[in-house]
Protein backbone atom coordinates (compact mmCIF):
# COMPACT_ATOMS: atom_id res chain seq x y z
CA UNK A 1 0.00 0.00 0.00
CA UNK A 2 1.29 3.47 -0.90
CA UNK A 3 1.88 5.67 2.10
CA UNK A 4 1.60 9.43 1.84
CA UNK A 5 4.88 11.18 2.57
CA UNK A 6 5.69 14.87 2.97
CA UNK A 7 7.51 14.65 -0.37
CA UNK A 8 4.17 13.95 -2.08
CA UNK A 9 3.05 17.52 -1.39
CA UNK A 10 4.52 20.85 -2.44
CA UNK A 11 6.26 22.79 0.30
CA UNK A 12 4.93 26.21 1.32
CA UNK A 13 7.73 27.89 -0.64
CA UNK A 14 6.83 25.87 -3.73
CA UNK A 15 3.14 26.69 -3.28
CA UNK A 16 4.00 30.39 -3.17
CA UNK A 17 6.11 30.12 -6.32
CA UNK A 18 3.39 28.14 -8.11
CA UNK A 19 0.57 30.52 -7.21
CA UNK A 20 2.51 33.53 -8.40
CA UNK A 21 3.53 31.84 -11.67
CA UNK A 22 -0.04 31.35 -12.89
CA UNK A 23 -0.90 33.05 -16.16
CA UNK A 24 -3.57 35.74 -16.63
CA UNK A 25 -6.09 33.30 -18.11
CA UNK A 26 -5.75 31.00 -15.12
CA UNK A 27 -6.41 33.89 -12.75
CA UNK A 28 -9.51 34.67 -14.82
CA UNK A 29 -10.59 31.01 -14.66
CA UNK A 30 -10.24 31.11 -10.87
CA UNK A 31 -12.42 34.23 -10.70
CA UNK A 32 -15.17 32.48 -12.63
CA UNK A 33 -14.94 29.24 -10.68
CA UNK A 34 -15.00 31.11 -7.35
CA UNK A 35 -18.22 32.80 -8.51
CA UNK A 36 -19.83 29.45 -9.30
CA UNK A 37 -18.78 27.79 -6.04
CA UNK A 38 -19.87 30.79 -3.93
CA UNK A 39 -23.32 30.75 -5.52
CA UNK A 40 -24.27 27.60 -3.58
CA UNK A 41 -24.00 29.34 -0.23
CA UNK A 42 -26.22 32.44 0.06
CA UNK A 43 -24.30 35.51 1.15
CA UNK A 44 -20.89 34.06 0.40
CA UNK A 45 -18.81 36.19 -1.96
CA UNK A 46 -16.42 34.87 -4.58
CA UNK A 47 -13.49 36.95 -3.28
CA UNK A 48 -14.08 35.84 0.29
CA UNK A 49 -14.23 32.19 -0.80
CA UNK A 50 -11.13 32.30 -2.99
CA UNK A 51 -9.27 34.20 -0.30
CA UNK A 52 -10.05 31.47 2.23
CA UNK A 53 -8.99 28.74 -0.23
CA UNK A 54 -5.67 30.48 -0.94
CA UNK A 55 -5.01 30.90 2.78
CA UNK A 56 -5.69 27.21 3.43
CA UNK A 57 -3.38 26.12 0.65
CA UNK A 58 -0.65 28.54 1.76
CA UNK A 59 -0.90 27.51 5.38
CA UNK A 60 -0.77 23.85 4.45
CA UNK A 61 -4.23 23.20 5.95
CA UNK A 62 -5.08 21.94 2.49
CA UNK A 63 -2.19 19.88 1.09
CA UNK A 64 -1.29 20.38 -2.56
CA UNK A 65 -0.29 17.03 -4.06
CA UNK A 66 2.61 17.28 -6.50
CA UNK A 67 1.61 17.29 -10.14
CA UNK A 68 -1.95 18.53 -9.55
CA UNK A 69 -2.98 21.69 -11.36
CA UNK A 70 -3.30 24.87 -9.25
CA UNK A 71 -6.84 25.56 -10.42
CA UNK A 72 -7.90 22.03 -9.54
CA UNK A 73 -6.42 22.33 -6.02
CA UNK A 74 -8.00 25.72 -5.33
CA UNK A 75 -11.33 24.52 -6.74
CA UNK A 76 -11.29 21.49 -4.43
CA UNK A 77 -10.47 23.76 -1.49
CA UNK A 78 -13.36 26.12 -2.37
CA UNK A 79 -15.76 23.20 -2.77
CA UNK A 80 -14.84 21.86 0.63
CA UNK A 81 -15.19 25.31 2.26
CA UNK A 82 -18.68 25.71 0.78
CA UNK A 83 -19.74 22.25 1.95
CA UNK A 84 -18.44 22.97 5.45
CA UNK A 85 -20.30 26.30 5.39
CA UNK A 86 -23.57 24.58 4.47
CA UNK A 87 -23.08 21.98 7.22
CA UNK A 88 -22.32 24.74 9.71
CA UNK A 89 -25.47 26.57 8.71
CA UNK A 90 -27.46 23.38 9.22
CA UNK A 91 -26.06 22.95 12.74
CA UNK A 92 -26.82 26.58 13.63
CA UNK A 93 -30.35 26.34 12.27
CA UNK A 94 -30.90 22.99 14.02
CA UNK A 95 -29.86 24.59 17.28
CA UNK A 96 -32.07 27.64 16.73
CA UNK A 97 -35.05 25.42 16.04
CA UNK A 98 -34.45 23.38 19.19
CA UNK A 99 -34.28 26.60 21.19
CA UNK A 100 -37.50 27.81 19.63
CA UNK A 101 -39.22 24.55 20.47
CA UNK A 102 -38.08 24.60 24.07
CA UNK A 103 -39.17 28.24 24.46
CA UNK A 104 -42.59 27.52 23.09
CA UNK A 105 -42.66 24.37 25.19
CA UNK A 106 -44.65 22.72 22.52
CA UNK A 107 -44.15 20.68 19.42
CA UNK A 108 -43.75 22.87 16.38
CA UNK A 109 -43.91 21.90 12.77
CA UNK A 110 -40.63 20.14 11.99
CA UNK A 111 -41.34 19.48 8.36
CA UNK A 112 -38.97 22.21 7.17
CA UNK A 113 -35.55 20.96 8.19
CA UNK A 114 -32.42 23.13 7.86
CA UNK A 115 -31.25 20.83 5.09
CA UNK A 116 -34.42 21.69 3.25
CA UNK A 117 -33.75 25.39 3.81
CA UNK A 118 -30.29 25.03 2.24
CA UNK A 119 -31.97 23.17 -0.58
CA UNK A 120 -34.51 25.91 -1.15
CA UNK A 121 -31.74 28.21 -2.30
CA UNK A 122 -30.28 25.48 -4.54
CA UNK A 123 -33.74 24.80 -5.90
CA UNK A 124 -34.15 28.45 -6.88
CA UNK A 125 -30.84 28.39 -8.73
CA UNK A 126 -31.76 25.12 -10.46
CA UNK A 127 -35.01 26.78 -11.51
CA UNK A 128 -33.05 29.64 -13.07
CA UNK A 129 -30.74 27.22 -14.88
CA UNK A 130 -33.53 25.04 -16.25
CA UNK A 131 -35.52 28.15 -17.19
CA UNK A 132 -32.58 29.55 -19.16
CA UNK A 133 -32.50 26.35 -21.21
CA UNK A 134 -36.20 26.10 -21.94
CA UNK A 135 -35.70 27.04 -25.60
CA UNK A 136 -33.44 24.02 -26.18
CA UNK A 137 -35.33 20.94 -24.90
CA UNK A 138 -32.54 18.50 -25.72
CA UNK A 139 -29.94 20.45 -23.75
CA UNK A 140 -32.49 20.86 -20.98
CA UNK A 141 -32.87 17.06 -20.94
CA UNK A 142 -29.11 16.55 -20.68
CA UNK A 143 -28.91 19.17 -17.90
CA UNK A 144 -31.72 17.59 -15.91
CA UNK A 145 -30.19 14.17 -16.41
CA UNK A 146 -26.74 15.36 -15.30
CA UNK A 147 -28.33 16.99 -12.24
CA UNK A 148 -29.92 13.64 -11.36
CA UNK A 149 -26.52 11.98 -11.70
CA UNK A 150 -27.61 9.93 -14.72
CA UNK A 151 -25.10 8.48 -17.16
CA UNK A 152 -25.27 9.16 -20.90
CA UNK A 153 -27.18 6.00 -21.81
CA UNK A 154 -29.62 6.59 -18.94
CA UNK A 155 -30.26 10.16 -20.14
CA UNK A 156 -30.87 8.89 -23.68
CA UNK A 157 -33.37 6.30 -22.46
CA UNK A 158 -35.16 8.52 -19.99
CA UNK A 159 -35.58 11.45 -22.39
CA UNK A 160 -35.98 9.36 -25.51
CA UNK A 161 -32.96 10.80 -27.34
CA UNK A 162 -31.12 9.04 -30.16
CA UNK A 163 -27.35 8.60 -29.74
CA UNK A 164 -26.79 11.37 -32.29
CA UNK A 165 -29.23 13.77 -30.61
CA UNK A 166 -27.64 13.04 -27.23
CA UNK A 167 -24.08 13.66 -28.48
CA UNK A 168 -25.03 16.96 -30.13
CA UNK A 169 -26.97 18.07 -27.05
CA UNK A 170 -24.12 17.07 -24.72
CA UNK A 171 -21.71 19.24 -26.72
CA UNK A 172 -24.10 22.18 -26.55
CA UNK A 173 -24.54 21.54 -22.82
CA UNK A 174 -20.77 21.72 -22.24
CA UNK A 175 -20.67 25.10 -24.00
CA UNK A 176 -23.79 26.49 -22.32
CA UNK A 177 -23.45 25.31 -18.74
CA UNK A 178 -20.59 27.70 -17.98
CA UNK A 179 -22.74 30.59 -19.19
CA UNK A 180 -25.87 29.84 -17.26
CA UNK A 181 -24.69 28.89 -13.77
CA UNK A 182 -25.62 31.95 -11.72
CA UNK A 183 -22.72 33.51 -9.85
CA UNK A 184 -22.85 34.96 -6.36
Amino acid sequence: MKTIKDDDYYTVAEVKALLTSLCRDDYARLAKIAGYRASISPGLEAQELLNEAVVRVLEGVRGWPRGIDAIRVLDMAMKSIVNAELKHRKVVLDHAKREQRSLADSVVNTETSPTMENDLHAEQLLGQIFGALSSDPEVLAVTMGRAEGLKGDEIQRQFNLSAKQYEAARRRYTRKIANIIPEE
Binding site: Y27, R29, K32, R37, Q47, D119, A147, T174, A178
Partner: protein
Protein backbone atom coordinates in the same frame (compact mmCIF):
# COMPACT_ATOMS: atom_id res chain seq x y z
CA UNK B 1 -31.35 3.91 -10.59
CA UNK B 2 -29.76 6.71 -8.59
CA UNK B 3 -30.84 7.47 -5.06
CA UNK B 4 -32.95 10.60 -4.67
CA UNK B 5 -30.62 13.58 -4.80
CA UNK B 6 -31.09 16.84 -2.95
CA UNK B 7 -31.24 20.12 -4.87
CA UNK B 8 -27.83 21.06 -3.44
CA UNK B 9 -26.32 17.84 -4.82
CA UNK B 10 -27.93 18.45 -8.20
CA UNK B 11 -26.60 22.00 -8.32
CA UNK B 12 -23.15 20.87 -7.28
CA UNK B 13 -22.99 18.41 -10.18
CA UNK B 14 -23.89 21.14 -12.67
CA UNK B 15 -21.30 23.45 -11.13
CA UNK B 16 -18.69 20.67 -11.39
CA UNK B 17 -19.49 20.45 -15.11
CA UNK B 18 -19.26 24.23 -15.49
CA UNK B 19 -15.86 24.19 -13.76
CA UNK B 20 -14.60 21.52 -16.17
CA UNK B 21 -15.89 23.58 -19.07
CA UNK B 22 -14.10 26.72 -17.85
CA UNK B 23 -10.88 24.81 -17.30
CA UNK B 24 -10.93 23.61 -20.91
CA UNK B 25 -11.75 26.99 -22.48
CA UNK B 26 -9.43 28.83 -24.82
CA UNK B 27 -8.59 32.49 -24.20
CA UNK B 28 -11.18 33.51 -26.79
CA UNK B 29 -13.92 31.41 -25.18
CA UNK B 30 -13.05 32.84 -21.78
CA UNK B 31 -13.26 36.37 -23.17
CA UNK B 32 -16.69 35.61 -24.58
CA UNK B 33 -17.82 34.09 -21.27
CA UNK B 34 -16.91 37.26 -19.35
CA UNK B 35 -18.27 39.49 -22.07
CA UNK B 36 -21.70 37.89 -21.67
CA UNK B 37 -21.88 39.05 -18.05
CA UNK B 38 -20.62 42.55 -18.86
CA UNK B 39 -17.12 42.20 -17.55
CA UNK B 40 -13.80 41.30 -19.12
CA UNK B 41 -11.02 38.80 -18.70
CA UNK B 42 -8.41 41.37 -17.64
CA UNK B 43 -10.57 42.86 -14.87
CA UNK B 44 -11.43 39.44 -13.45
CA UNK B 45 -7.85 38.16 -13.69
CA UNK B 46 -6.62 41.34 -12.00
CA UNK B 47 -8.56 40.92 -8.77
CA UNK B 48 -7.46 37.30 -8.43
CA UNK B 49 -3.81 38.18 -9.16
CA UNK B 50 -4.03 40.98 -6.59
CA UNK B 51 -5.63 38.71 -3.99
CA UNK B 52 -2.96 36.05 -4.44
CA UNK B 53 -0.15 38.60 -4.45
CA UNK B 54 -1.44 40.09 -1.21
CA UNK B 55 -1.38 36.67 0.45
CA UNK B 56 1.86 35.39 -0.98
CA UNK B 57 3.91 38.60 -0.97
CA UNK B 58 6.96 38.19 -3.15
CA UNK B 59 8.19 34.61 -3.19
CA UNK B 60 11.75 34.56 -1.94
CA UNK B 61 12.83 31.90 -4.42
CA UNK B 62 11.61 30.88 -7.84
CA UNK B 63 10.49 27.33 -8.50
CA UNK B 64 13.73 26.62 -10.37
CA UNK B 65 15.81 27.86 -7.44
CA UNK B 66 13.81 25.70 -5.04
CA UNK B 67 14.23 22.63 -7.25
CA UNK B 68 17.95 23.29 -7.59
CA UNK B 69 18.26 23.60 -3.83
CA UNK B 70 16.34 20.34 -3.29
CA UNK B 71 18.63 18.50 -5.71
CA UNK B 72 21.72 19.90 -3.99
CA UNK B 73 20.35 18.86 -0.60
CA UNK B 74 19.84 15.33 -1.87
CA UNK B 75 23.47 15.33 -3.02
CA UNK B 76 22.60 14.29 -6.57
CA UNK B 77 25.38 14.67 -9.18
CA UNK B 78 25.22 17.70 -11.47
CA UNK B 79 23.72 16.89 -14.82
CA UNK B 80 25.78 17.05 -18.00
CA UNK B 81 23.87 18.36 -21.00
CA UNK B 82 24.40 19.98 -24.38
CA UNK B 83 22.18 22.72 -25.77
CA UNK B 84 21.67 23.20 -29.51
CA UNK B 85 24.00 25.76 -31.10
CA UNK B 86 21.49 28.08 -32.77
CA UNK B 87 18.71 30.16 -31.22
CA UNK B 88 16.18 28.64 -33.62
CA UNK B 89 17.11 25.12 -32.58
CA UNK B 90 16.98 26.07 -28.92
CA UNK B 91 13.53 27.60 -29.41
CA UNK B 92 12.41 24.44 -31.21
CA UNK B 93 13.66 22.32 -28.31
CA UNK B 94 11.90 24.60 -25.85
CA UNK B 95 8.62 24.37 -27.82
CA UNK B 96 8.99 20.62 -28.04
CA UNK B 97 9.44 20.36 -24.26
CA UNK B 98 6.49 22.66 -23.68
CA UNK B 99 4.27 20.56 -25.93
CA UNK B 100 5.18 17.37 -24.08
CA UNK B 101 3.95 18.09 -20.57
CA UNK B 102 4.60 14.51 -19.46
CA UNK B 103 8.33 15.23 -19.59
CA UNK B 104 8.21 17.96 -17.00
CA UNK B 105 6.38 18.57 -13.79
CA UNK B 106 2.98 20.02 -14.84
CA UNK B 107 3.73 23.01 -12.65
CA UNK B 108 6.73 23.87 -14.83
CA UNK B 109 4.77 23.36 -18.02
CA UNK B 110 2.11 25.63 -16.56
CA UNK B 111 4.68 28.33 -15.75
CA UNK B 112 5.95 28.33 -19.34
CA UNK B 113 2.57 28.18 -21.03
CA UNK B 114 2.54 31.87 -21.89
CA UNK B 115 6.00 31.80 -23.39
CA UNK B 116 5.42 33.36 -26.80
CA UNK B 117 7.10 36.61 -25.81
CA UNK B 118 10.26 35.03 -24.43
CA UNK B 119 13.51 36.28 -25.95
CA UNK B 120 16.22 33.93 -27.22
CA UNK B 121 18.19 34.82 -24.13
CA UNK B 122 15.23 33.91 -21.85
CA UNK B 123 14.89 30.57 -23.60
CA UNK B 124 18.59 29.88 -23.26
CA UNK B 125 18.36 30.61 -19.52
CA UNK B 126 15.35 28.36 -19.04
CA UNK B 127 16.94 25.51 -20.99
CA UNK B 128 20.10 25.88 -18.92
CA UNK B 129 18.05 25.69 -15.75
CA UNK B 130 16.18 22.62 -17.00
CA UNK B 131 19.46 21.02 -18.05
CA UNK B 132 20.98 21.72 -14.69
CA UNK B 133 18.00 20.05 -13.05
CA UNK B 134 18.59 16.93 -15.13
CA UNK B 135 15.59 17.37 -17.43
CA UNK B 136 17.63 17.46 -20.65
CA UNK B 137 19.30 14.12 -21.18
CA UNK B 138 21.36 13.32 -24.25
CA UNK B 139 18.30 11.68 -25.83
CA UNK B 140 16.79 15.14 -26.32
CA UNK B 141 19.56 15.94 -28.82
CA UNK B 142 17.69 13.88 -31.39
CA UNK B 143 14.81 16.34 -31.42
Amino acid sequence: MNAKRTSSQKLETLIDDAVESVMAMTEEELRQLFHEVDTDLETEAAWVAELIASKVAAPKESLIELSRKALNEKGLPRSVFHLPDTAAERRALFDWLKDHPGLMDPALTMAFRDANDLSDRDIMGILENLGELGLLDETEDEE
